[in-house]
Assembly symmetry: D5
Homo-oligomer: 102 residues x 10
């Protein structure tokens, strides 16, 4: 099932720059792995802000919560989720909810 997920990153100005850079590298790696697995379907940057707009595709609410809280930048994230359903006028493939991943 699909979710619009919006993540706002708030790193305090006095955070350790080296440590933050490490978290950002790990975040990128994990993000790419999740994209390859089809869980993190889309990922865009909000122009002018340290914030992203994403589409996630998960099997359960528990899976989404687990994925989001495992993000390396989690302590600095303010996350809002919006549940999405297939739109009757949509023609695209990914609007169809997956019934199972097996």
């Amino acid at each position: 099932m699909l979710f619009l997920v919006r993540m706002k990153v708030s790193v305090p100005p006095d955070a350790d720059a080296h440590e933050v850079a490490g978290l950002q590298r790990d975040e990128r790696d994990l993000s790419r792995r999740l994209q390859h697995e089809g869980i993190w379907r889309h990922l865009w940057r909000v122009v002018g802000r340290y914030e992203n707009v994403s589409i996630f595709d998960v099997d359960s609410h528990e899976q989404l919560h687990e994925v989001l809280t495992s993000l390396p930048l989690w302590p600095y994230l303010d996350i809002a989720t919006t549940p999405l359903a297939a739109h009757p006028s949509a023609i695209e493939e990914d609007a169809v909810p997956r019934v199972g991943r097996g």
Copy 2:
């Protein structure tokens, strides 16, 4: 270039049901044509609301404005747009901005 577009539909309860149904049919037709043309990239329903979340891909702000104001339900729409940029961690094809459509 990509935009997150959120459209909330507010049809007044006393609107002519037959006329609204006609507008909705036209809206669906136009929406599908725009999806086939690659302008309306994604279209999802917000669960529990007469509201959608979409991704548009246009060549200019003028084109996006023209497309949105040509929607049959336009008089009943409250629209918010968020400009999106390619995310450095994104692997997917559609995160790459199109430089031209020619």
Copy 3:
């Protein structure tokens, strides 16, 4: 999967009282049927308001959207949904997400 759903009812003062009463009766019947089926898990009234707080348990976002838009009072409802996950400290049975209903 579980959702906190909050529905605010806004019937315009000049609506036909008889027709509204009919919708309310139908709403109550459908609501009870959905409660018996285990889809509408909990239903409470917000004190002092024509508004309710509910917990829904559905198999997909599409199912939740279908259920909510089929409510007789739908044209008068403003609905907000919040996806819920099982809490690690919860002891109760219904915090466990259902993997299937079959």
Copy 4:
């Protein structure tokens, strides 16, 4: 009487990790005890956030305030309460307010 209670946890990034872990363990223990006593009726996690949605059943406002302020994470909690009443369409047992606990 029943309350919807929403708790948002805001632990400052520079808090002592060990101390916070201790508070979280104590919070879980107290939470479970209160659930067994029937005071903390339901407890769910809000997906993607360090925030929960709960239903409390108490005998008085004083009892609810005492319970909430005794939570080990209290200094980090932002709490909003919504008083709930039995809904005339509800079929479930726990919509019935308890007249006494004796």
Copy 5:
């Protein structure tokens, strides 16, 4: 138990003046009866607005909801309730919650 209740009255400009005057008279009568019964403890006008601030003292959430929805102006009211508890520094009698009314 005590509640801060704030009621905002929004009578549409085109409402029948005679009918509204009748509702206001009935509202005043019921309000005074509830004050004499000790349920509507305090009632003040918000300066410059058609809005009041009140303190209610009820035995249950169901009683408060029943009282508020029985107000003649109910269809025009937007009501917000805030549950109150006795304050440890309060000296006054009415800060003490009533355990029973019998």
Copy 6:
């Protein structure tokens, strides 16, 4: 004249616990004195929050400002005031504004 006053207390987590306890003791003492003098008419706790709802009765805006800024916890308070007037439907004694205190 009467005011609804709402005070939210925000003590930073790293404040000196001993010093804060002292301020709270002084706050309670001053609060009780003001209640005995009839200036702080009512004082309630907002359930689940470090916040109170109060009714003040003062001779002038200057007096109210002086009283509020003299509270020991003043540096940590966020205060909102709402001017109240006697309500025509009120039966209670304290809805009558005091013309003088002499």
Copy 7:
């Protein structure tokens, strides 16, 4: 005592133009009378809006409420009041609160 009062006028587009013009004339007359009496101390227009910013000087909350609700445009006004006190750095005469008008 002094109040900052902000009044927003919302005349519905379909209101009777002749009747509204009459109310506006009456409003102007009453406004001027109150200014001459020293009750409506200052009156300014908010640029680009049908809204004003005013300073009122009254003897009681009841007087202010009575004055505001007697304005001919009252049914179309949304009014917010802010109680003001003399500022210790102010040099001007009218910052001094009037103790009596006799």
Copy 8:
């Protein structure tokens, strides 16, 4: 030309008390000078808050910006400005905009 200016002061609790007292003294001196020059027309305290409501009369936006940013407490101020125009119903002298100061 006239402006409603609202200044909210937020001195962090851990600021140097001596230094802040010095800034406050300087602020008062400058404020009085500006009042004598007719630039800072009115100055009131918002009851219960470290916040003021003022009326400024300046020759240009640049002058207003320069005056406000030169206030000793500027680093701690959150300022909102509202442009005001003469009101057609106003009788008072100071509602007339100054065309020049020379």
Copy 9:
């Protein structure tokens, strides 16, 4: 002096289409005249909304108020103004405030 002006147009769906079209034509004519006179410096459309962003350059608040209230669509406009000053880093000509228009 310069102002950022944001105008949101809300024409009710049941307005007379012919009359609105006339107002829009008049609005365009007046808008162009004001642009030629240098008063309406810039005019842009907000993408996806019946709303514009403009820069006005006027000699006084009274002039700006007069110009805005003379717009044919005025009854349907919700207008917000933000006073602007020359920015010290700006290189452009029009950031310089005009001292007079004579």
Copy 10:
């Protein structure tokens, strides 16, 4: 394509004054270069605030994001962007979107 960009600067009071001054100098230099290149079309100060209103003209969302995140004060900026389109009533040259910069 054009954007209204609003930047609010929040430098923490305890930031190193010398370092901030350096960033401000660099910011001014870069800002001027971008203005000369025609990317930063307009730049104004919001009166009374450490905040600016700007118009940017870019070839892509990626370019705008790159420009904004390269600003020396970026860590202290809260930025909101609004996409603008040419207005049919605009007469000015710069309302015409640039199709290319080559």
